[in-house]
C-alpha cells in the first residue's frame, strides 16, 4: 500500500474490492503469524443472565486480518477476552497453532491486546507504559528507548512521553494503548476498537500503519470495530456477530455481495428493504409480492429455507441502492423487477445522488444511487426503478425490533 | 525533675483542721475510696467496707486504679474526688509528700477513731501510721521455687540468696524487671547484713547480679507472670510477691510452690488522704477501720496480705501463715525497704539497672 504523495485524504465509501487489489502492493508476509482456532466457545458471565458467546467457532489463518463486527453487546469484546486468556470459556477451546491454550495464562500466549477502555497504567508515564512490555521481556535499555520513541512517533505522540495518562486527551490515550501493544510486535494482535476515538485523518494514518505492520510481521490480527469502512479497508475476512453468535464470516466483498441474512445485509453499506410475501418460485427465481409490486430474486440470492419457500411466508426483499437504476420513462409492463414509483426526493450528496421513490401508499419505497450526472428525473414525477434479479435478495423476515438489525432510520 | 505545670494549687480545704472532736456517730454521707483495683476489692467489700458502713452508716463509693499523676491532677486542678487513695510503693509516697499532694495525718484523730471502733492503739505497728498515710498491706519480695524440682525431703532453697546457689539448685531463674528489691537481694547474697544494707551500694549489687546473668531466663513484670513462669517450667525458681503463691494454691490448685522468706524485702504501699479531700472525717474513720485485726485477717486469709496491726497475727489461719508477710516469724527474717533511699536514689538506680539489663 505504498502511496503516491499529493493525493486524496479522508473517508471512502464501501470498497469491497480494495483489499484484493491492494494486497499486491504490500511487502511479502513472512509466516510469523499464528493460526487460531476457536472451537464452540460459549461464555455466560457470572452475573449476567444472557449468553455473551454462544457456540462461536472460527479458524483464523496465520497472518490473516479478521474483523469482528456487530452491534453493541454482540460479544465482540468477549471473543477477544477469551482469545487473550482473560476469561475462561464455559465450554469450548482456543487453539493456537493447533495447541490447546484454553487454560494457558495470558502472558504465555504472546498476544497483544488493545483494550476497548485502554487499560493504561495510571502510575506510569506514556513512555513507561510503552516500555513496559519490553522491560518485562528484558530488552536492553538502549533498544527500548529507540523502539518506544519510534512507536510513539508512529502514533504522533513523540513529545508526550513524559505525560501521565490522566494528562492526555481521549484520543491520545487510545494511541498510547495502541503504541504499547505494537511496541513488542506480538504474534497475534487483538484490537478492540483501537481507533474509535481518533479523527478520520489520524484514523486513516493509523489504519495504514496497522496494516503495514501487520503485513510486515505477518501477525494474525483480530480486530473489532464499529466502522464498516474501516472493517472493509483492513480486513481479509469479517465476522459479523449478533447476540453472541457469528452470523456470517467471509471476505468484505463476500459479505457485501452475498449477505446470508437480513441482519448482515443491513449491517453493511446501504440496503433497500421491502417487506413482502412469497407467492411462489420457479427453477430460476423466487417470486415475492410486495406493496410495490411483484419482485423476483434469483434462486441463488434467495436466502430462504425450504420451509419459507411456501407461498405466504413473510420475507424481506433487499437490494442495494447502487444496483437500482432509475429511468424517467415508465417501465414496460412485463419487465422483471421494474417498479413504477413516484420520485419523492432527490438528494445530491457531493459525489453522487440519491433518488427516493415511493409506492402508492407512500409507506414503502426504494432508494437508488446514481452518479452526479444530470438526468431528467424530477421530484414528484413517476419513474421506473429497475434492478437485476441476481442482485435481489430475499430473506426470511426478521422481527422489526431485532436489536441492531438494519433498523429503519 | 519538676513538671512545669500551669495548674497551681487552689484549694485549701484540706488545711482547715476540723475543730470538732472525732466522733464516729456523727459521720454521714459518703466517702470515695480509690484502690488499685483487683480481686482484693471483693474481699474488702465483705470485711472492711461492710464493717465500716455498719459502724458509720457512711456509704462507700469506690474507684480504681491508683495513679499518682491522676492524684496530682486532681489536687492541682482542684477537682479532688478521692477521700482515700492507695499510693504505690518505691518512693511515690514520698514524692507525693514532697509535692504537697497529701493531707498530713492527725495521729491523734486517727487513734481516736481506731479506738472508737474497738481497736487497740498499742497493737499498731510502727509502720502503721506515717506522717501522711497509713501503711497499706505490707508485702514482701521473697523466693518461690518449684517443689517438683526440689521436692520436700530433699534440699530446698531456704533463702532468697539461694538464687545464686546454682550448684545446689540448678535451673533457670526469673527475677523482677526493676531495680527495686533486686538490688537489696543481690547485696544480701553478697553478704551484706540487713542492718548495713542502706545506703545501697548499687555497683556492688550490679556486680553480684552479673553472676546471675547466665541463669536468668527472663525478667517478670506482672505479679501473675512469676507464677506462670514457674508453673510452666520456664524457671525453677523466681522472686515473687508473697501473696501470689498463696493465691495460686487457693485459686488454681497449684500446690508445688515452695517459698523462702530469708533475706526477703518488705515494703508497703500507703493509704493516703489527698489534700482537699471532700470528706476527710469519714476518710479517717475508713482508714481506722482498715487497721482492725478482723479486717486484716480476712484479706490475709484469702490473698496473703494483711494490715499493720500485730493483733491480726492470731486471726490468721494456719495454712495462710507461711504466706503472710506480716505474720511474725516471717516478718522477723525480712529486711524492711528504706523508702527514703529509694525516693532519693530510685531514678538513678533504675537507670543503672536498666543499663545493666540492656548490656545483656
Amino acid at each position: 500500500m505504498q502511496r503516491r504523495p499529493g493525493t486524496i485524504t479522508s473517508t471512502s465509501p464501501p470498497e469491497s474490492d480494495r483489499r484484493r487489489s491492494s494486497g499486491s502492493g504490500g511487502e511479502t508476509r513472512d509466516s510469523g503469524g499464528a493460526e487460531i482456532d476457536l472451537i464452540s466457545l460459549t461464555k455466560t458471565y457470572e452475573s449476567g443472565d444472557v449468553r455473551a458467546l454462544d457456540d462461536v467457532s472460527a479458524r483464523l489463518a496465520p497472518g490473516e486480518f479478521v474483523t469482528f463486527l456487530g452491534p453493541s453487546g454482540a460479544g465482540k469484546t468477549s471473543v477477544l477476552r477469551l482469545l487473550a486468556g482473560l476469561e475462561f470459556p464455559d465450554r469450548g477451546q482456543v487453539l493456537l497453532n493447533g495447541r490447546d491454550v484454553t487454560s494457558v495464562p495470558p502472558q504465555r500466549r504472546e498476544m497483544g491486546v488493545v483494550f476497548q477502555d485502554y487499560a493504561l497504567f495510571p502510575h506510569m508515564t506514556v513512555y513507561q507504559n510503552c516500555a513496559f512490555p519490553l522491560q518485562v521481556r528484558r530488552v536492553p535499555a538502549a533498544t527500548i528507548r529507540q523502539t518506544v520513541d519510534a512507536v510513539l512517533n508512529t502514533v504522533q505522540l513523540g513529545d508526550h512521553g513524559d505525560r501521565y495518562p490522566a494528562q492526555l486527551s481521549g484520543g491520545q490515550k487510545q494511541r498510547v494503548a495502541i503504541a504499547r501493544t505494537l511496541v513488542y510486535e506480538p504474534q497475534v494482535l487483538l484490537m478492540d476498537e483501537p481507533l474509535g476515538a481518533l479523527d478520520k485523518n489520524l484514523r486513516e494514518h493509523m489504519q495504514l500503519e496497522l496494516r503495514q505492520l501487520q503485513q510486515r510481521l505477518g501477525v494474525t490480527c483480530v480486530y473489532v470495530t464499529h466502522d464498516q469502512d474501516e472493517a472493509m479497508a483492513l480486513s481479509d475476512r469479517i465476522a459479523v456477530m449478533r447476540d453472541g453468535r457469528i452470523e456470517q464470516m467471509g471476505s468484505p466483498r463476500d459479505l457485501y455481495r452475498n449477505p446470508r441474512s437480513q441482519f448482515v445485509a443491513g449491517f453493511f453499506g446501504k440496503m433497500n428493504f421491502i417487506p413482502g410475501e412469497v407467492t411462489g418460485s420457479d427453477s430460476d427465481c423466487v417470486h415475492v409480492d410486495t406493496e410495490l409490486g411483484v419482485v423476483r430474486a434469483s434462486r441463488e440470492s434467495a436466502r430462504l429455507s425450504q420451509g419459507s419457500l411456501t407461498a405466504g411466508a413473510p420475507v424481506t426483499v433487499a437490494v442495494r441502492p447502487e444496483k437500482v437504476s432509475v429511468t424517467a420513462s415508465p417501465p414496460r409492463g412485463t419487465a422483471v423487477n421494474s417498479l413504477a414509483l413516484t420520485v419523492e426526493y432527490i438528494r445530491y450528496a457531493g459525489a453522487f445522488t440519491y433518488v427516493d421513490g415511493v409506492g402508492r401508499t407512500r409507506e414503502t419505497g426504494v432508494v437508488a444511487c446514481k452518479g452526479p450526472e444530470n438526468s431528467d428525473i424530477t421530484t414528484g414525477e413517476p419513474a421506473a426503478f429497475h434492478f437485476p434479479v441476481e442482485n435481489t435478495f430475499v430473506f426470511e423476515r426478521e422481527p422489526a425490533d431485532q436489536r441492531g438489525a438494519g433498523k429503519p432510520e | 525533675g519538676e513538671p512545669t505545670s500551669a495548674g497551681s494549687s487552689g484549694n485549701d480545704r484540706a488545711n482547715e483542721q476540723p475543730d470538732s472532736p472525732a466522733d464516729i456517730e456523727s459521720l454521714s454521707g459518703s466517702v470515695n475510696l480509690n484502690t488499685s483495683g483487683g480481686v482484693v476489692d471483693e474481699i474488702w467489700e465483705e470485711s472492711w467496707w461492710a464493717r465500716f458502713m455498719d459502724e458509720t452508716g457512711v456509704e462507700i463509693r469506690t474507684s480504681s486504679p491508683a495513679d499518682l499523676s491522676r492524684l496530682r491532677a486532681q489536687v492541682e486542678s482542684g477537682n479532688v474526688e478521692w477521700d482515700v487513695t492507695e499510693i504505690s510503693t518505691g518512693g511515690q509516697y514520698l514524692e507525693a509528700v514532697e509535692q504537697d499532694l497529701l493531707t498530713e495525718l492527725d495521729q491523734e484523730r486517727f487513734r481516736e477513731y481506731f479506738e472508737q471502733l474497738g481497736g487497740d492503739g498499742d497493737d499498731l505497728m510502727p509502720e502503721a501510721v506515717a506522717t501522711h498515710g497509713i501503711g497499706h498491706a505490707p508485702f514482701a519480695t521473697i523466693l518461690m521455687f518449684d517443689e517438683r524440682e526440689f521436692p520436700e525431703g530433699e534440699p530446698q532453697p531456704s533463702s532468697v540468696t539461694d538464687l545464686w546457689n546454682v550448684e545446689e539448685f540448678p535451673g533457670p531463674r526469673c527475677i523482677h524487671e526493676q531495680a527495686l528489691y533486686n538490688l537489696e537481694i543481690a547485696l544480701a547474697a553478697d553478704g551484706v547484713d540487713a542492718d548495713d544494707m542502706y545506703p545501697l551500694d548499687v555497683e556492688r549489687a550490679i556486680g553480684k547480679l552479673d553472676e546471675l546473668v547466665p541463669h536468668i531466663a527472663t525478667f517478670w513484670s506482672a505479679g501473675a507472670e512469676s507464677i506462670q513462669l514457674v508453673a510452666d517450667g520456664e524457671c525453677v525458681m523466681s522472686t515473687v510477691w508473697n501473696g501470689r503463691p498463696f493465691g495460686a494454691q487457693n485459686e488454681d490448685d497449684i500446690d508445688y510452690l515452695g517459698v523462702a522468706w530469708e533475706a526477703g524485702i518488705m515494703a508497703s504501699s500507703y493509704w493516703v488522704i489527698p489534700r482537699g479531700a471532700p470528706n476527710p472525717e469519714s476518710a479517717y474513720a475508713l482508714l481506722a477501720t482498715y487497721q482492725l485485726p478482723e479486717v486484716g485477717a480476712s484479706t490475709a486469709n484469702q490473698v496473703g496480705y494483711g494490715n499493720t496491726n500485730t493483733a491480726t497475727d492470731e486471726l490468721i489461719d494456719e495454712d495462710a501463715r507461711p504466706f503472710v508477710a506480716t505474720y511474725g516469724p516471717n516478718l522477723e527474717v525480712l529486711t524492711v525497704q528504706d523508702e527514703q533511699w529509694w525516693y532519693e536514689h530510685g531514678e538513678s538506680a533504675e537507670e543503672r539497672f536498666s543499663e545493666w539489663r540492656l548490656a545483656q
Binding site: - | N32, V39, S69, R70, S77, G78, D252
Partner: protein
C-alpha cells in the same frame, strides 16, 4: 474492557501465596482456639459465672458505649479531615498526614496528663471560659464520660486518619464532579457518589478503631469518672489470680458481641451491596 478480576477461583499464579494465608490463619486462629478451649475448660461454668456477674455486664456495657462513641467521634472528625487532605496535591496531603501522626509518639500517659491539665478546674479551658466571663464557676470537664472520650479520640484519631487515608486517597473525585454536572449539590454528590465508594475504608477504619478502643484501659481509668470501669480493666483483674477461665470467657464474649455489632452494622448500612459494586 479492562478485565474485572476473577472472583471464584484462586487467582492464577497466586498459589504461592497460600503459605502466607495458612500462616496468617495459624497465627490468628491457633491461639484463639486454645483460648476458646480454655474458656470452656470447666464446661460452661465460666460462662455461667460471667453471665451472673453484674460487674461483667456493666463493664461490657461501658466498654461498648465508650468504644462506639469514640469510634463515631473519630469518624466524624477524621473523615472530613481525610476528605479534605486527599483533595489537595498528594505531597501536601502527606505533609498533613505526617503532622497528625507526629502526635502518635507522644506517650499516652504524657498525653493524658496534658489533657488533665487542659481540662482541669484550673486548666486552660476553664481559665479561658471564666476569663471570658462565659461561666462563673469552672466547669467539671474532667473525670467524666466526656473527658474519657476526648482522651480516647485524641489517642485513636490518628489511627482512624491513617486507615481512612489509605482507602480514600485512591477514590476518583471525577465522579463526584460528574454528579454535580448532573445537578447534584456538592453535598448530594458527596453522599451519593463519594461516600459509597469510601465505605470499605470507613468499615476497615471503624473496625480498627473500635477494636483499639475496646482493648484500651489507660484512658478510661485515668480520665474517667469513678464509675467508668471498662472490660479490659476487669479482665486484667481476672488475671491477677491466673484466673484464665474467666479471663478467656469474657474475651470470647466480648469478641462475640463485637462481631454481632459489626455484622449487624454491615447489614444495616447495606454495605454488602455497596462493596460488591465498588470492588472492581
Amino acid at each position: 474492557m479492562t478485565p474485572p478480576a476473577r472472583r471464584f477461583r484462586l487467582p492464577r499464579g497466586l498459589g504461592f501465596l497460600l503459605p502466607a494465608l495458612i500462616l496468617v490463619g495459624a497465627i490468628t486462629v491457633v491461639p484463639v482456639v486454645r483460648i476458646v478451649m480454655i474458656s470452656f475448660g470447666d464446661g460452661l461454668a465460666n460462662y455461667q459465672e460471667l453471665f451472673q456477674s453484674g460487674v461483667f455486664w456493666s463493664t461490657l456495657r461501658i466498654t461498648v458505649e465508650i468504644s462506639v462513641a469514640s469510634t463515631v467521634v473519630c469518624l466524624l472528625l477524621g473523615y472530613p479531615f481525610v476528605y479534605l487532605i486527599t483533595s489537595f496535591r498528594e505531597n501536601v496531603a502527606r505533609r498533613f498526614l505526617l503532622i497528625v501522626v507526629t502526635t502518635f509518639w507522644i506517650s499516652l500517659i504524657v498525653r493524658v496528663y496534658a489533657w488533665m491539665v487542659i481540662l482541669g478546674r484550673n486548666g486552660l479551658v476553664n481559665d479561658a471560659l471564666v476569663g471570658l466571663g462565659l461561666v462563673d464557676e469552672p466547669l467539671d470537664l474532667l473525670f467524666n464520660r466526656v473527658s474519657v472520650i476526648i482522651g480516647m479520640v485524641h489517642y485513636l484519631l490518628p489511627y482512624m486518619i491513617l486507615a481512612l487515608y489509605g482507602g480514600m486517597v485512591g477514590i476518583d473525585r471525577g465522579l463526584t464532579v460528574a454528579a454535580q454536572t448532573l445537578g447534584a449539590s456538592p453535598l448530594q454528590a458527596f453522599r451519593r457518589v463519594y461516600l459509597p465508594q469510601s465505605l470499605p475504608a470507613v468499615f476497615a477504619g471503624s473496625m480498627l478503631v473500635f477494636i483499639l478502643a475496646t482493648g484500651f484501659f489507660v484512658v478510661p481509668s485515668l480520665l474517667g469518672g469513678p464509675g467508668e470501669m471498662t472490660l479490659s480493666v476487669y479482665m486484667e483483674r481476672q488475671t491477677f489470680f491466673l484466673n484464665w477461665g474467666s479471663a478467656t470467657s469474657s474475651a470470647v464474649l466480648l469478641s462475640a458481641v463485637s462481631i454481632v455489632l459489626f455484622v449487624s452494622m454491615d447489614r444495616l448500612v447495606g454495605l454488602d451491596k455497596l462493596f460488591g459494586a465498588v470492588r472492581r
